[in-house]
């Protein structure tokens, strides 16, 4: 039964996206998007429930037996990622109802929602597929629709940001494709499980190593791992609010997931250990954490600050992976979830500020926190999670990450994480200081007295979506069982050599 559900996750958005593209009416296209997201969320829950006992759900496309046909092989990691993506999509859809009419051109409502659904479809596809070429296709579906989504931002800088993302994203995808080609030349197969099972027969070929390097570089570009992050800050800060929320919470996470699959399932762990990749990734992760946090602290614009903070958070995830012990990988997988929650909440808060004040420049937002106390509270809550204050989700991952680093005796990592956290305090404080502690001054932009009570109060749907995120930050910080158990079983599965399973 549930093997049919897996393909529905991809097919439903695929059917509804073209229909939505034809619609002009905002409310109908919004409703379709919301329904599609909610259905995906329910399906992801069912699938996650099915695989939570460690079993696999297998779907063969068109009835072709793997390794010839495309196979969807769902384990707990696939289902976990699909759950993150569809969960964020649902919250974002709720948020979109009032945000999209404000920020998107009237003529392109239908197209916007269609692109949104296509992006959702691509990300879900990456999360589900067990075929490496199919993964490339889904990667490009999600990327192409996100270029279109980003370019719909209000400022013309959104266009150039989208163009440079297009160039770098395509280079990344092409590198990935070259790598897959090398691997295919060596193995004659595209099925991840099949390649992994027969890996030892062609492991000593030069092709395999070249392919590995290309694949890792390509996915690293897509995942914005420092120093390949240059497209990210512009793309996220100029995109429409809804797009910033959705992409910051899912796009890089899904690329990291693909990287996890390549590193742990496709290639044996000791293969890339001998290439010194863990050391390289560890160094890049540490530098990324410090660099991202420092650049975030320098920013004067809220959305750009959050975008640089994303670079730092990806650094934490990379550190966790490269520590290569169970606690570290658990922390990384958990941080995929936690960071999606935190960043979605923060970008929703930034979107609400943009909605009311028409700006996200911190200097223009002096004393604005008092005018919108609930939004401000949610932002502070998510900001505290970003720092890693006990009781919030950020603390949980940082705790496990520190534990993993100490057990490996990597003190330099501990220092990097502490510096990153101190800088996080500094940049979150910067937001709080600007919005709350500076003397109140009504923001006046383009002659509109935008802090005025007469100017639209942020609608309830935005607030609801924001507080779902904020409550999640708190809830999963106190009751860590659900993400922790999922992440731990994932980490155990990843670190077990594939040959042991077969």
């Amino acid at each position: 039964m549930s093997e049919q559900l897996t393909i529905l996750l991809v097919v439903i958005p695929l059917i509804f996206a073209p229909i939505t593209a034809l619609l002009k009416n905002h409310n109908i296209s919004w409703l379709i998007t919301l329904v599609v997201s909610i259905i995906s969320l329910i399906l992801s829950f069912i699938i996650l429930f099915d695989v939570s006992d460690g079993s696999h759900v297998i779907y063969e496309l068109g009835g072709w037996r793997p390794p010839w046909g495309i196979e969807y092989k769902i384990d707990s990691l696939n289902a976990f990622i699909a759950l993150i993506v569809s969960g964020v999509a649902t919250v974002t859809s709720i948020y979109a109802f009032h945000s999209v009419p404000k920020e998107i051109d009237k003529r392109s409502y239908g197209l916007f929602y269609a692109a949104f659904q296509l992006c959702l479809l691509g990300l879900l596809g990456i999360a589900l597929t067990g075929d490496i070429f199919n993964l490339f296709v889904f990667l490009e579906i999600s990327s192409l629709s996100s270029y279109a989504l980003i370019s719909m931002g209000k400022s013309r800088k959104a266009l150039t940001a989208s163009f440079s993302y297009l160039v770098l994203g395509t280079i990344g995808a092409t590198f990935f494709l070259i790598g897959v080609g090398f691997l295919f030349a060596a193995s004659g197969s595209l099925n991840i499980a099949d390649i992994a099972a027969r890996f030892s027969t062609f492991a000593d070929m030069q092709l395999v190593m070249t392919g590995f390097i290309f694949i890792v570089l390509g996915l690293g570009l897509k995942a914005a791992i420092f120093p390949l992050h240059s497209w990210l800050p512009n793309a996220y800060s100029h995109a429409p609010s809804v797009v910033s929320i959705f992409l910051s919470a899912t796009a890089t996470k899904v690329s990291i997931y693909a990287l996890l699959r390549v590193l742990f399932d496709l290639y044996p762990i000791d293969y890339w250990q001998s290439l010194l990749l863990p050391q390289i990734m560890l160094a890049l992760g540490c530098v990324g954490v410090i660099y991202g946090s420092f650049r975030a602290w320098q920013q004067v614009e809220l959305k750009r600050l959050l975008a640089f903070s994303s670079v730092a958070q990806i650094g934490y995830i990379v550190i966790g992976i490269s520590l290569l012990n169970e606690t570290g990988v658990t922390a990384s997988v958990m941080h995929l979830f936690n960071h999606a929650l935190i960043k979605a909440t923060l970008f929703m808060g930034a979107g609400m500020i943009l909605y009311r004040a028409n700006t996200t420049l911190l200097s223009e937002l002096r004393g604005f926190g008092g005018s919108m106390p609930w939004t401000f509270m949610a932002i502070v809550l998510a900001g505290l999670s970003l720092i890693g204050v006990p009781g919030t989700v950020g603390f949980v991952t940082k705790w496990y990450l520190l534990e993993a680093a100490i057990s490996e005796g990597k003190w330099i990592v501990v220092i990097a994480i502490v510096i990153g956290s101190v800088l996080a305090v500094a940049y979150v404080w910067k937001i709080v200081e600007a919005m709350y502690f500076n003397s109140k001054r009504k923001a006046i932009i383009h002659g509109v007295n935008s802090g005025d009570i007469n100017v639209a109060k942020a609608p309830l749907s935005l607030g609801i979506a924001l507080w779902i995120g904020a409550a999640g930050c708190l809830y999963f910080g106190l009751y860590t069982d659900l993400p922790f158990d999922a992440a731990q079983s994932v980490a155990k599965a990843l670190l077990t050599p594939t040959s042991a399973i077969n």
Binding site: F133, F136, V137, E140, L144, Y147, A148, S151, R156, K157, L159, T160, S162, F163, L166, V167, T170, I171, A173, T174, L177, I178, G181, F184, A185, G188, L190
Partner: protein, 119 residues
């Protein structure tokens, strides 16, 4: 050595096409030329896949008792998809360039950067 160089002539040519594309992409300021470079870069990968599947003396994979050596058709099938992806990317890129031209009145990247920095 010579045999090695000539025997892999297709790969040398593919590398040349790829590097010309990548160089164009990096060195040109004109956005249209950048996209042309990007398209060349992608085309090189398509050529790589197709030449990879070719077996010397191999024929199309048909059921016949006359032939015993077949070329692998899978890379070509994969490249049909990759061509579609490449065309879609180029189309989105050109659409963006049109919008950039409307917004900035230029397609030169260095001028756009100057305009962006002035804001």
């Amino acid at each position: 050595m010579m045999d090695y160089a000539i025997g892999h002539i297709n790969y040398w040519l593919i590398i040349a096409v790829m590097m010309v594309g990548l160089y164009t992409l990096i060195s040109r300021s004109n956005l249209i030329k950048k996209l042309a470079g990007l398209a060349m870069f992608q085309t090189a990968v398509i050529l790589f896949y197709v030449s990879m599947g070719k077996v010397t003396g191999g024929t199309v994979p048909i059921m016949s008792t006359d032939y015993t050596v077949y070329s692998n058709p899978l890379p070509q099938v994969l490249m049909l998809t990759a061509i579609v992806v490449g065309v879609a990317t180029t189309a989105v890129g050109f659409a963006l360039v049109i919008r950039i031209k409307e917004a900035y009145d230029t397609v030169e990247e260095d001028q756009i950067n100057i305009m962006d920095n002035q804001e």
